[in-house]
Symmetry: C2
Subunit: 419 residues, 2 copies
């Protein structure tokens, strides 16, 4: 469907991806792992070429902010890190071919539910060249062809990286279109990719809130929403002071720019006078700007007034909004209303309150007495991460290799017909 919206080149790319995916789906694990290690070796070999391409991008980005160019910049060490990432993915268990379950039905059919690749995965991302390699590693290991559309500012770097991987595929006699990258980085082509329903099995956007919202609003291909994190910590009446200070500080300041950093602090009214001052002091010592409601400002005078928009804003910065709540139920209602459904924490020593919070909070990850910063594929022990899903369909929370697969039912009979 929707071919009319899609320019011919993108249709060709889609068709090539589908053909490549069919062959890749049959490739054995040993061969896939060998190729992942060859990807790594070839990246290191081509370091000068890759850095030269990256220099072109960096020269064109000379007027961009330092934060931007830092993400764009490749170094010898960063290429080594990407190679190490590829070798690490080679060591992970391959989900393809696993049986989720199997049974014999009343008619005597043996029914097995078997893990298979999704097929063709499209990714739209910003000017971070490492995504080209990281995403290719995970989609390749899980048996999927990938269509990459990176930010235009990283095009030379992305092409140098993708061409390295494609060269290895070709040398091995495989279809190089297992990994494709769009040379055309126009908005129109990104929009067309969002409508390439005939070929794209799932589209995963990776980047800021603007990119994610644009994809959600426009795409007709299936999408996995990732990375929006307006994460909350609720300090209950029965919280232990040192634990509350340590967790709130860690969740806010350890890496404020990422989606699993905490953005909001809710405190039970009965504990606020005791617990808010030491928490606020510790946060401010780390340079955190606090914005709060009237009740919190009455306790700690350095807290600035919060606006209505603060409650729904993901700062990704050293800012935290504070609110005093009447009770746990008020905290839960506030969170379920304003949260992006990523990660929420209760700090408490009360059993019943911990249970209520775990049951009633509607987010991908709900914690008792731990930092939100653990919502991460590596921290969870998956050995890899393609992103953190904040939607409910297909995958929720950190996504590893298994989340890049689907299943099919394999049914063996001996002549059964339906009565």
């Amino acid at each position: 469907m929707d071919e009319i919206l899609v320019n011919q080149t993108l249709n060709q790319i889609g068709s090539q991806a589908k053909r490549a995916a069919a062959k890749l789906s049959q490739l054995d694990t040993v061969t896939k792992n060998r190729l992942l290690n060859q990807f790594a070796a070839e990246l290191v070999t081509r370091t000068p070429t890759i850095l030269a391409a990256n220099q072109k991008d960096l020269r064109a980005a000379v007027d961009m902010p330092a934060k931007f160019t830092d993400r764009l910049k490749l170094t010898e060490q960063r290429i080594k890190d990407m190679a190490a990432g590829l070798r690490q993915v080679a060591t992970l268990p391959d989900p393809i071919g696993n049986l989720d379950r199997g049974w014999t039905n009343e008619a005597g059919l043996l029914i097995e539910q078997k893990r298979v690749p999704l097929g063709v995965i499209a990714m739209i991302f910003e000017a971070r060249p490492n995504v080209t390699v990281d995403a290719s590693a995970l989609t390749f290991k899980s048996g999927n062809a990938v269509i990459l559309r990176g930010g235009k500012e990283a095009l030379n770097s992305n092409l140098a990286l993708a061409n390295t991987l494609r060269y290895v595929l070709k040398q091995a006699g495989l279809d190089e279109n297992i990994i494709q990258i769009l040379h055309d980085t126009s908005h129109q082509t990104a929009d067309d990719l969002m409508h390439l329903n005939r070929y794209v099995d799932v589209l995963i956007p990776r980047g800021g809130a603007g990119l994610i919202q644009a994809v959600l609003k426009n795409a007709t291909v299936p999408v996995i929403e990732t990375g929006a994190g307006n994460c909350h910590i609720y300090v209950d009446q029965f919280a232990e002071e040192k634990m509350a200070v340590d967790i709130v500080v860690n969740a806010k300041v350890q890496r404020p720019s990422v989606c699993n950093a905490a953005e909001k602090l809710l405190i039970h009214q009965a504990a606020a006078a005791k617990l808010l001052p030491p928490i606020a002091k510790a946060l401010e010592a780390h340079g955190v700007e606090l914005r709060g409601d009237q009740r919190s400002r009455a306790i700690v005078s350095s807290i600035k007034p919060a606006q209505d928009t603060d409650w729904s804003t993901e700062y990704n910065d050293l800012i935290m909004a504070v609110k005093i709540v009447d009770d746990e139920q008020a905290a839960i209602e506030h969170i379920n209303h304003y949260s992006t459904g990523h990660s929420e924490v209760i700090i408490t020593d009360n059993y019943q309150n911990s249970q209520t919070f775990l049951n009633q909070i509607d987010s991908a990850c709900v914690y008792v007495n731990a930092s939100t910063r653990f919502t991460d594929g590596f921290q969870f022990g998956f050995g890899a991460e393609i992103g953190i899903s904040t939607q409910k369909l297909h995958a929720r929370g950190p996504m590893g290799l298994k989340e890049l697969t689907t299943t099919k039912y394999v049914v063996r009979g001996n002549g059964q017909i339906r009565k």
Copy 2:
């Protein structure tokens, strides 16, 4: 997002559904089962009211074809059948609260992946009032609020049925907005529902290909695509004649109007001269019109010429297209190109050919030596079915209660922070 596209009434309905879903998600299994049985009892009690409402719809549909009015028509027996369906859902295991897996990570956090409801499920369906009850039963048991948008020709019937269920909810002191039905059956409102991203966790369309395609093309809320079935049977060189005849006839004629009926017959060239005549004879004896390629028509002269469009058409009727293929690989390529990814069968006694077919066919259900008609939640043993997914994301194949759920990660710590 997209609130600007949505009229106020629909926003209210969505907001009510979300509130109702939060409470329903906490309801225990025993209470849900008791209510399902009370739904059943109240439906039977209200039989005269429901039939009177249905008569109104039937009088307005007097000029519609018999096939249409047959689906629209309710009888005392059909209401009893709906009640029996509700009682059957009450007997099924409740997926909510199950743990899919659990482990302790390196930091000592106990991580559990727990089954929870999706939240708010929207359904768009055609003039089949039984969907109102069947869908409400499955969404209720799996802890989800539902927003139903049925065909305008069945509005009086759907309202009478939904109001019966809502009355039972209210009598039990529960939120009646667990089950809501749109009174406004305009296309605009259906379109708005497809863009109600703020409240709708998944939209499941049920109906013909036109409805499904319209939803896929327009919706920005997550969708599960159901019911498109261009199903193939490949009769291999090593097929047993009687089995081939029995399975092809059963798959084509037992219920030709449904999505798991076979639409296409592919036969290996080396077996065609022997097997096509008896298969064609048996199909024609059941009134099936055959359309074929030149090679099949050279063997059985009664076969009409097939057009290019035949290969991609789902007839849902006593029509079958026939093609002679050079070998198994040609059959697999044809199927993966033209199939809707629903159900495909190989009939063979050759081990290697059965393995190749099972591995390389990219469809929800792949069979050896059995009828496509088994692709069905009840036949699979799920005890219920909300539809058959032909997409790869979230659910693939027959969907029961589990496919109406998602998971969340519940994480218990004792003060862990990220290093």
